[in-house]
Amino acid sequence: MIELTGVSKTYEKGSTVVRALDDVSLRIDRGSFVAIVGPSGSGKSTMMNIVGLLDRPDAGRYDLDGSDVGALSSDELAEARNERIGFVFQSFHLLANTTALENVELPLVYSNRPDISGLGLSALERVGLEDRAQHTPGELSGGQQQRVAIARALVNDPDLILADEPTGNLDGASGLEILGIFQELNRLGKTIVLITHDVEVAAMADRRVNIVDGRVVSDEITRGD
């Protein structure tokens, strides 16, 4: 469960101060599928960085699964990212000239889990790409690359999947396929936070949070289960 309370974040760009998040409070329950929607520059990427423990807020408090993450050291944050959060990026961020399987196994390199054999392959199975395990990203289509990235996000079995414009670089059909995977994962219990500027993509989620100029301007349930 994610709980942001009065979170603010400002950046200095040259001489001007950009208020990326302005006193945002938001609660995302375990097992929900939330879309965070806003135009570019609205602060949704900053939101993703803070929720993903890649950045710290200047003010406010962030509780993840009931504990304040502001108290964690940067090593503890890295550990938490490794164990509790799966990232999916717009540009996939797969290592070139490295097989799909090795890419999927990358989080395991930094994991403390004692037995990691077979986890990479079973993650690839979950996205239907076990037969592409030895292919490099260059040999895969965009949709397949994003599925490899999702398998990588799943390999450590985190509760939370954070996806930043995951369909932004894909054609319509591949995008739908990816969103279908997210829905399936959500149905199996994962918390999905999807960041997008695309209203149609956001429509796949159960709840839509609109951000403009660093503030939450609307928060609505779009689909009741």
Partner: protein
């Protein structure tokens, strides 16, 4: 972790190649120079030990100057055969003494052909003191020295050079127009520390050298064999005590002779070899430094090229130390590989250099290069030094890039 380092080396072949090259040059230079210097120094020391080894004292006429070097006031004329006899009589620890007359080159004529050859006068004690006898025929004896016999023992190389390869024993030669009979061929000896090829000399009785070839009544120097149990420094003092009254030296006057022991000689060689033990390794160290700078720069380049990868790894849970370990491991693996290649290359270079005369080149001019061949190899401690140097280059060159990589902010790099 290791696999990902190897993977990264494979992905960036050109950069890896350049980093290996940077290490290769420096480490090869270092190992070759150190092994070469060591081999040469050992060869020179071996040579000295053969010449002056064991319990011996070199006694030279003239004070002040070093090792019989040229003296401003002409040759020292004070050391005589009688001095040696007195030393032998008064100091029982001196087992044998060989007087030496280094006469320089004389015209030697055999069957109408003239060649300039080094002529040296010795006594029959030479056989004991230098442990050098005759391979063919025999060395001259006490009687030959007593009566200034016109007999000669020739160096091995002269057998081919003068006598066309045939056994010269019994042949007649003329040295400075004085007829001599060849009675033996000397054991092989090699090049002396001054670069003189001792297998290209002719030895004659010292008295013959004094009276028939140069008409003097003094000797230049002598090599004394001392009992192994004796204290060399003590014997040196006692020899001075014998010689000073014989030469009528007052208490304020300096010695008109000097003595050198093997211990002093080794010190001289070591200081003479500074070019190998100090200067060249310094040059090699600079080339390693240059290689290290190349590696460090390529690693920094690698860090900025791979910002996205670093950011991704951090997002996926890599801690700062994971990232710096990865880059240190990469730079060290590359330089270690380069260092191992360098050892192979150094070995080949040293083998090729083994054929070159190193002693001759360090100690003086000679046209008999092959006589001074030095066995050059790659001693294990030098190889170890090479490995340590490449590891050090990898670690030191990797520190700054690794720190920079570890400090990267994933928020910035993942955009």
């Amino acid at each position: 972790m290791v696999r990902s380092a190897v993977g990264s080396m494979r992905r960036h072949k050109m950069r890896t190649f350049l980093m290996i090259l940077g290490t290769l040059v420096g480490v090869t230079a270092l190992t070759v120079v150190v092994a070469y210097g060591q081999g040469t120094q050992n060869a020179v020391l071996d040579n000295f030990n053969r010449m002056f080894g064991g319990s011996t004292i070199m006694l030279m006429a003239g004070g002040g100057g070093r090792m019989g070097g040229p003296h401003a006031d002409g040759p020292a004329t004070t050391l005589t055969l009688e001095d040696l006899a007195a030393i032998g009589a008064e100091i029982p620890e001196v087992i044998a003494s060989d007087p030496i007359m280094m006469l320089g080159e004389f015209d030697v004529v055999y069957e109408g052909e003239t060649k300039p050859i080094m002529i040296t006068g010795h006594s029959e004690s030479q056989e004991i003191v230098w442990d050098r006898g005759a391979t063919s025929g025999s060395y001259f004896g006490h009687e030959d020295v007593e009566r200034s016999a016109r007999v000669a023992v020739v160096g091995e190389r002269l057998v081919t050079e003068i006598f066309g390869g045939m056994d010269p024993v019994g042949e007649s030669i003329r040295i400075a127009n004085v007829p001599f009979e060849v009675i033996g061929v000397l054991d092989l000896m090699g090049i002396d520390p001054h670069g003189v090829d001792m297998d290209r000399e002719i030895q004659v009785p010292v008295t013959t050298a004094m009276r028939r070839l140069s008409n003097v009544d003094y000797i230049f120097s002598a090599k004394l064999s001392v009992a192994a149990s004796a204290n060399l420094d003590d014997v040196v003092f006692r020899i001075a005590d014998v010689l000073r009254p014989r030469h009528a030296l007052g208490p304020q006057e300096p010695n008109d002779f000097q003595m050198i022991t093997p211990v002093q000689v080794e010190g001289m060689i070591e200081s003479g070899n500074r070019v190998f033990t100090l200067f060249l390794p310094l040059v090699a160290a600079i080339s390693i430094l240059a290689g290290g700078i190349v590696v460090a720069n390529l690693m920094l380049m690698s860090v900025s090229e791979r910002r996205a990868e670093i950011g991704l790894r951090k997002a996926l849970g890599a801690k700062r130390r994971d990232i710096s370990a990865q880059f240190l491991l990469e730079s060290t693996a590359v330089t270690l590989f380069g260092g191992l290649l360098a050892l192979g290359l150094a070995y080949v270079v040293l083998l090729a250099m083994g054929g070159v005369s190193t002693v001759a080149r360090t100690m003086g001019e000679t046209d008999n290069a092959e006589a001074a061949e030095v066995a050059l190899g790659l001693p294990w401690e030098v190889a170890l030094l090479g490995v340590a140097a490449s590891l050090a280059v990898g670690l030191l060159a990797g520190v700054a890039p690794a720190r920079r990589a570890a400090a990267l902010d994933p928020v910035e790099t993942l955009r």
